[in-house]
Amino acid sequence: MKTKMKTKTGKTGWRAISPLIMFGLILLFVSYGISLVHVIRIRRNMGDIGVDDRIVIRLAHFLSEENVQSAFSKLAKDYEELHPDTRIVVQSVPQRAYQQWLNTQQIGGTTPDLFQLQARGDWTMASKFQEVLTSQVGQVNPYNVGTDLEGVPWRDTYTDGMEGGYFFSLLEFYGIPMTIESTRIFYNKDLFRRAAGSDRPPGNFGEWMEICAAIQAYGEGRDETIFPIAATRDYALLSGFNGFYVTAFTGGLAIPYDVNAGGGPTTQGTLWGFQTGTLDFDQERVRAAYDIQLELAENYQPGFMSDTADQARFLFIQGRAGMLLGNTYDLILFRDTARFDVGVFRIPLPDPDDPKYGRFVTGRIWEEPVTKFLFGLSKRSSHKEIALDFMKFATSLPNNEWFCRQLDWFPAIRGAETSDELQVFAPSGEGVSASLELVTGPDIGLYFDHNFLLFLGGHLSFDEFMDGLEEIWRTKGEEWLMVKRFAITRQEDISRERNLSRSRVRVLFEEAGEMNPGQTMGSGTAYQLGVQIVQAFFAHSFNYRQFIHPHIKDGTYQFPPHSLMPAELYPIPPPDHVLEEMLHRGGQK
């Protein structure tokens, strides 16, 4: 028997529903309907003919600054004028959620045609979801007609030969770069003038400390505390000052432990040094590299060890800190939001005549002139040629110059002019390239993260810090290397072959400059000149590795001949079955 809903008011059926609930239901269904239509429209637009019969190319990036979005939109509009049948949709996804969003899109098969890559060289994702660009980058960029780069292959129009987009693990090009990224110190010019009497950036470490002292003195008599440097827990670690000063002070140190011809000791080499008692971290150059950071940390705001980059930026923009370590992308943010003149300078080094640190400085830091802000091309794109064509348009000489000018970025294309102000972001082509590696593997990393902060906070002396570090190298370092021996050996092989290829290039081309192990990598031009040949050498040695494998000689496992380490002391020989396989493969030639 059918029964109808009956309420206290005696109404039955749909009349029993109160107006409020009815309104809610209608709202729900209307919202659902609109969403459905919206989703269907997006699905229709995705890589196919759009609703207005134009081909839609989607591009996604994770820089949320308005200027980035508007610069991309202008590029898109210009491209659409040239190609009326194409529509470029530029989408900005917040960086914190970007990787998760991208993963979802990739797994769901709805990846944008072009998407910014979070990290350079992430081969696992690239091999699954990205189109190989190697053959494409060798073609001429047609949008350079009428410029000095007319007729030049796309790859060679880049300042680094497009190495930023080359994934060494896969031996293919997978990314299209748009700029060069550098880490620099941003400073409040107004505060410098008020506190130190001049807005001139410091020329060396000593001058820098004097300015810091002046800012501290200036802030002491005021209601609002002003800190010389806004630091963060991240920048305070390996990626910031620590990496800089350790490299500058220990470059060229422990060269006998260079396993992969990279100019500096490797993980395996360092461990071997500990095992044989021939290497320790308690050296005056290492001590100086950490002393200088301790001196620097006195200028950080209290509590920096728990502060994030956003908190440090907030301090700086509010005028509560005089300086901040940031990268290229921060400049436009500070210029847009700060109410003072923003200046930029390189991290200062002590002068050679600095009484405390001068004698320990190996030299200026070499910065890899590798282009970044990479975009990948989705394997699922229905219009790969058009998507690539748009990237060629965006990275043509005039457009890359215009794009980078809009954003105060350093251009990635050769010959693209930039303001004198931005020259400070130009990578340093000469200098120290490799140094002592103090951290490797998760356990050593964990120890370092915890105790470096304690050291900077004055809770741990240098001796205690280094004793603990050496101990963890001897124990956990060895365990970790045993666990990862296959991956590490393979990586070392790849690195060695790449590094030897670079050396060969410098032998073949005198103008490529001289490579002093652990100290200099030659000028930036060497990179441009030799990069293509490097790839060829590298690809060759990699592909035919079974025939030239340096580890197998006379049926025994040998250490590479260029190393000073004897074979019997090699800490991690491969297991027998791997050896047999190598020998078997070697015997097939």
Partner: protein, 316 residues
């Protein structure tokens, strides 16, 4: 539990058919990953291609891992502190329950529901700013109330070297202050879900019982200890279990407040954060080891819940 015979199954098969989709989803998205974690915990697995069976190697390693021991030590302190942090929720629920005006009672219940729509991460971020030594409200509050002077005096007496006259305490940067900061977090500790659970228990108490207590001359305090608290012990036990599970599992708080390091010296490196770090943060991920840490955490929670169910008795 009543067993289902084959004949009954034949008769009710349509009912069971309707259960199948939900069961499949449950198995796929809840049980399968959990089983996967157990499986991978026996491997040296980096989350990618390197996978080597090592039996109980990860578990043996975890038992000797000083970071694991430290993590559970921190958790034990936090669980102990959280026992006391449950009291304000009980008090708030009782006060709301005793409000004479139904309208006011409803209003306060709604007030307790509204914060539930604010993501937990936002609350933690707000607290991160509270702890800021330079602009944080906590230090300003201590200064304003004069408590800071008392702390400085105590520090002088006991020689902690933490509360000094010339510098504001950095709650999240000084190793000595990290655990106190993790305990202070959330003050005045009136949890919304906790209050609502207690309120549901209190609303089940009959008016007759209150009347009887009144006739016997029980005052507000006596009524609480002799009537209300005994009758909401079921809810207290539920909250106790949730609190223990939550405290052991929690790592979002420490991750946001202290970062992936767990603060200087790794003082705040709780087991969840350690597991997260091993699984996702380090360049060389150790998924297999992280899985074993997760399974150990699961077993500890299971054991504590069992102890709770078995030995924390509720006699009404």
């Amino acid at each position: 539990m009543k067993n289902v015979s084959v004949s009954q199954l034949k008769y009710h098969w349509r009912v069971y058919l309707f259960v199948v989709p939900s069961l499949c989803l449950l198995l796929t998205f809840a049980y399968f990953p959990a089983m996967g974690a157990i499986y991978y915990s026996f491997f040296n697995w980096d989350g990618g291609f390197v996978k080597e069976f090592i039996g109980f190697g990860n578990y043996v390693r975890a038992l000797g891992d000083p970071y694991v021991r430290h993590g559970y030590y921190v958790v034990a302190i936090l669980v102990f502190a959280n026992l006391f942090k449950m009291i304000p929720s009980i008090a708030a629920a009782v006060v709301i329950h005793r409000l004479k005006s139904t309208r006011s009672g409803y209003f306060y219940r709604v007030l307790f529901v509204i914060p539930m729509i604010i993501p937990g991460i936002v609350m933690i971020l707000i607290w991160k700013y509270f702890f800021d030594p330079n602009f944080g409200i906590l230090n300003e509050f201590l200064e304003f109330t004069g408590l800071m002077d008392a702390l400085i005096a105590l520090d002088g007496a006991f020689g902690w070297g933490v509360f000094l006259a010339d510098s504001a305490p950095a709650w999240l940067s000084r190793p000595e202050l990290i655990i106190p900061a993790l305990i202070i977090w959330g003050f005045p500790w009136v949890g919304t879900i906790g209050v609502l659970i207690y309120l549901s228990g209190l609303s089940g108490i009959s008016d007759d019982i209150y009347d009887a207590a009144k006739v016997d001359g029980a005052g507000p305090l006596r009524t609480f200890f002799s009537v209300e608290l005994p009758l909401i012990l079921t809810q207290v036990r539920i909250n106790l279990i949730l609190m223990i599970i939550g405290t052991i599992k929690e790592y979002g708080l420490t991750l946001v407040l202290l970062g992936h390091t767990g603060g200087p010296g790794g003082v705040g490196l709780v087991p969840g954060l350690y597991m997260f770090r091993r699984a996702f943060y380090d360049k060389e991920t150790e998924m297999g080891y992280a899985c074993s840490l997760g399974i150990i955490m699961f077993l500890i929670i299971l054991a504590l819940t069992f102890v709770n169910q078995k030995f924390v008795r509720v006699d009404k």
